[in-house]
């Protein structure tokens, strides 16, 4: 009874095309945002359970938000445009390192041309966004093969980007400002004079980024470009024959997706890690993002969040539970068990719902609508 559309008449198409056409969804989202923007920071500032220690904020919520953002980016490419990519980690790295370079000042001596390009250190916000743009640029470049290569072949080919950039950031000392170990430190997080320092501030920063980008991304995928992407995903030949240019559709998907992933990469480096090395953006990260998107639901912004939560948090929980319960198991056994259970959970979930959490949620909604009747 709670979840019914009855009585909500739409009198204009614009209403039907709103982000959440159903009132209950809007209310739910409002509550969620309220909790995220006001509730959590309040609890955390006053160290009220479960935010007694910074753990929840630092080690769970912060990475969750950033990875959810990256998952949205990945979802645009993989879920909406159907271009399977295992290079997301690389684009995070590009975002992070470009933002780092821009934030610490760029100096390119072009000796043979007789001059040098010098850019003074940019403000953090600009560096992060430009880092995203740099990732978008590289994304377009590495998206070009997608015009010819499809499906799993493309997936493996995107690994070329992954390994190539891993190597570049490891090997080209210019990117790390010649740090001997190749590990670099983020510049101070100064936003127009306000320095972001504490976990709560960091959390709010990431939350803002994620919320804004998620809404904009949702706009995009609901609009014409989003439909072009999905058309390419579902049947590229037919799409071409109705006037969608694969070149434009695929490359915009690569660009938008890489931009978001790049911004997420910059946030991961600047806000979460603070100090990082290329390994922070390894193939494992790419795979992790792909898992999030598949488990969350391909082609669903909402699903990206759920997927990110599942892939990130469930292993941690599984790892925590035995210690918290005081079960006397060695860390080794706990970790092995964690693997086994996590793997089984993934399989179970997929068998229950091959299209991930997003579909699960929509089926639940459909059931709610019919409730109390089964069909």
């Amino acid at each position: 009874m709670l979840y019914r559309e009855t009585g909500q008449f739409k009198t204009a198409y614009a209403q039907d095309m709103a982000i959440f056409p159903i009132r209950q969804d809007r209310i739910g989202l409002g509550i969620l945002l309220g909790i995220a923007f006001i509730g959590v920071p309040l609890l955390a500032t006053f160290h009220i359970w479960p935010f007694g220690r910074d753990y929840l904020l630092w080690a769970i919520l912060l990475p969750f938000l950033v990875l959810a953002l990256a998952a949205i980016g990945t979802n645009i490419l993989v879920g909406y445009c159907g271009q399977i990519s295992l290079g997301s980690g690389a684009f995070m790295a590009i975002g992070a390192y470009s933002a780092y370079k821009l934030g610490t000042g760029v100096h390119i001596p072009l000796a043979w041309l007789g001059f040098a390009i010098s850019i003074p250190p940019l403000p953090v916000l600009a560096s992060i966004l430009l880092g995203g743009l740099a990732a978008a640029g590289c994304g377009i470049l590495f998206g070009i093969p997608s015009l010819r290569i499809k499906g799993l072949y493309l997936a493996v080919a995107t690994l070329a980007a992954q390994f190539f950039f891993d190597w570049v950031f490891l090997r080209v000392p210019w990117f790390t400002n010649y740090a001997p170990s190749g590990s670099v430190n983020a510049p101070e997080l100064n936003f127009f004079g306000a320095v972001v320092q504490t976990p709560v501030e960091r959390y709010l920063l990431c939350l803002t980024f994620v919320t804004v980008i998620a809404f904009l991304a949702k706009n995009l995928v609901r609009g014409n470009l989003g439909r072009q992407w999905m058309a390419i995903r579902d049947m590229d030949i037919a799409a071409e024959l109705i006037g969608i240019r694969p070149l434009y559709a695929k490359l915009t998907a690569f660009a938008v997706s890489s931009f978001i992933i790049g911004v997420a990469g910059a946030l991961w480096a600047f806000v979460y890690l603070g100090s990082w090395e290329p390994l922070a953006f390894s193939i494992d990260r790419s795979l992790q993002l792909l898992f999030m998107v598949i488990i969350g639901g391909l082609g669903s912004i909402m699903g990206s969040f759920v997927g990110a939560a599942f892939i990130l948090i469930v292993p941690i929980m599984l790892n925590l539970i035995p210690t918290e319960l005081g079960v006397p198991l060695s860390t080794e056994t706990i970790t092995h068990l964690e693997f086994i259970i996590f793997g089984s959970l993934i399989c179970y979930l997929l068998i229950k719902e091959p299209h991930g959490f997003a579909r699960l949620i929509s089926i639940c909604k459909e059931k709610l609508r019919l409730w109390p009747f089964p069909y």
Binding site: T104, S275, W276, E332, F339
Partner: protein, 420 residues
């Protein structure tokens, strides 16, 4: 969670018993855990303050390491006493956080080489040796084998390294040394985790360097030894860093490893008086964390030494702050004022494993001594005297790099002259 008693000192253990580096991570973690256990079982803690330890699995992955740190840093009545990440990557990621949280980070024989400078890195303690010390010691040994420091001139020395911050750390020092002594230095990277090294070794076979320094970890070490054998590169011209000189690094290669050498982080394998205690108080009670046969292996011993230094730092700090659980900041004082004489080391049962150590504000490394050992097919044999790394070479580099860090991070270096 089990109720924590108020008179307990919490110590986290970041370990990796799974994943690609488990082979080396597990014995180390066993040594650490067993020693803490020993302190509790034999002495009832440190001056009556029991040690409460919790292990967290990092799989040698930086982000998991950060998560573990966050999970454990404020447990126990006073929070973590200190933290041993056992990974250079995690060390880099935690350096800033630990400074903010005021928890010392002990990186014995690894971590950032520039953190020797305690004036900038107030909370980092690369005890017993950094990679720059290691590099210098290795070159000293090469010179000794060649018959004199002047014989280095014109020689070829290659560095086969794990392509990560860990493997890259020694490069600047080796470049300095190459310039100074006039040998030709070639760094050769091996991609993580190092299962494939054929091209590297084919190149080595052609290039015929006089020595190959191995800066590997995990599977990379044993693979290097095997590949060396495959291209018939003499194993006794290979010198591993102290992380490339344990049993798991040579046993998979079997007889092919005979002759392979490595640095020692002071101690080697073998049993010392403290091991008798471990066997008596820990293993006899069935509380050991590994098979008794593995007690006394290189990495096990290193874990013990690491744990012991931490315990002694707490003990030292208790002298100043009282016999109660201490905060990280207090333990840091203990670490910075740690001064273990030979006599004290003997008392602790570590005689023969360690030389005396003295840590200060300006020198968070304490000592930079090392020896060289060689694998004879069954065990490691010590084949050299003690070397001490040359501070006059290392310090300028430390000052330079740590100065840059301080400037980046807007850290006002402490004035060590004023610190007690």
């Amino acid at each position: 969670a089990p109720a924590t008693a108020q008179n307990e000192q919490f110590i986290p253990i970041l370990s990796y018993r799974t994943g690609p580096y488990a082979v080396n991570g597990a014995p180390y973690a066993n040594g650490v855990a067993d020693y803490y256990n020993l302190v509790n079982e034999r002495d009832g803690g440190i001056n009556g303050v029991k040690l409460l330890v919790e292990e967290c699995e990092t799989s040698y992955a930086t982000d998991k390491g950060v998560e573990c740190y966050e999970r454990l840093k404020s447990k126990g009545p006073t929070g973590a006493a200190f933290i041993n990440p056992l990974s250079t990557g995690i060390t880099f990621a935690l350096t800033e956080k630990t400074a903010a949280d005021k928890i010392p980070i002990i990186t014995m024989g690894y971590g950032r080489a520039d953190s020797k400078n305690g004036a900038v890195f107030a909370y980092n303690f690369p005890l017993l040796g950094t990679y720059w010390s290691a590099a210098d010691i290795a070159i000293q040994h090469v010179a000794r084998e060649l018959g004199g420091i002047d014989k280095l001139k014109g020689r070829k020395i290659s560095l086969l390294y794990h392509d990560s911050p860990y493997g890259k750390e020694p490069i600047p020092m080796l470049q300095v040394l190459a310039q100074k002594y006039g040998f030709e230095f070639t760094p050769i990277p091996v991609t993580h985790p190092g299962v494939e090294q054929k091209s590297q070794w084919l190149a080595i076979r052609q290039n015929r360097p006089d020595y190959v320094l191995v800066w590997g970890w995990g599977v990379m070490n044993s693979t290097a030894v095997k590949e060396a054998a495959a291209v018939a590169y003499p194993r006794d011209k290979m010198i591993g860093v102290w992380w490339s000189g344990a049993e798991p690094d040579v046993t998979p290669a079997g007889d092919q490893a005979i002759g392979y050498k490595s640095l020692m982080l002071q101690h080697g394998a073998g049993k010392f008086p403290v091991h008798a205690d471990i066997e008596k108080y820990v293993y006899a009670k069935g509380k050991g964390s590994t098979e008794p046969g593995k007690v006394g292996e290189v990495l096990y011993n290193r874990g013990m030494v690491n744990a012991m230094l931490g315990v002694e730092a707490i003990r030292k700090a208790q002298e100043k702050f009282g016999q109660k659980p201490l905060t990280g900041e207090q333990v840091r004082w203990g670490l910075e004022n740690l001064n273990l004489s030979d006599a004290r080391i003997k008392e602790l049962g570590f005689e023969g494993m360690l030389k005396s150590i003295r840590i200060s504000c300006s020198d968070h490394e304490g000592t930079r001594d090392g020896r060289v050992q060689q694998w004879d097919g069954r065990s490691w044999k010590i084949i050299s005297d003690w070397y001490t790394a040359d501070e006059s070479l290392i310090d300028p580099l430390v000052a330079d790099v740590s100065g840059k860090y301080a400037a980046d991070k807007k850290i006002q270096p402490r004035d060590c002259a004023k610190e007690s």
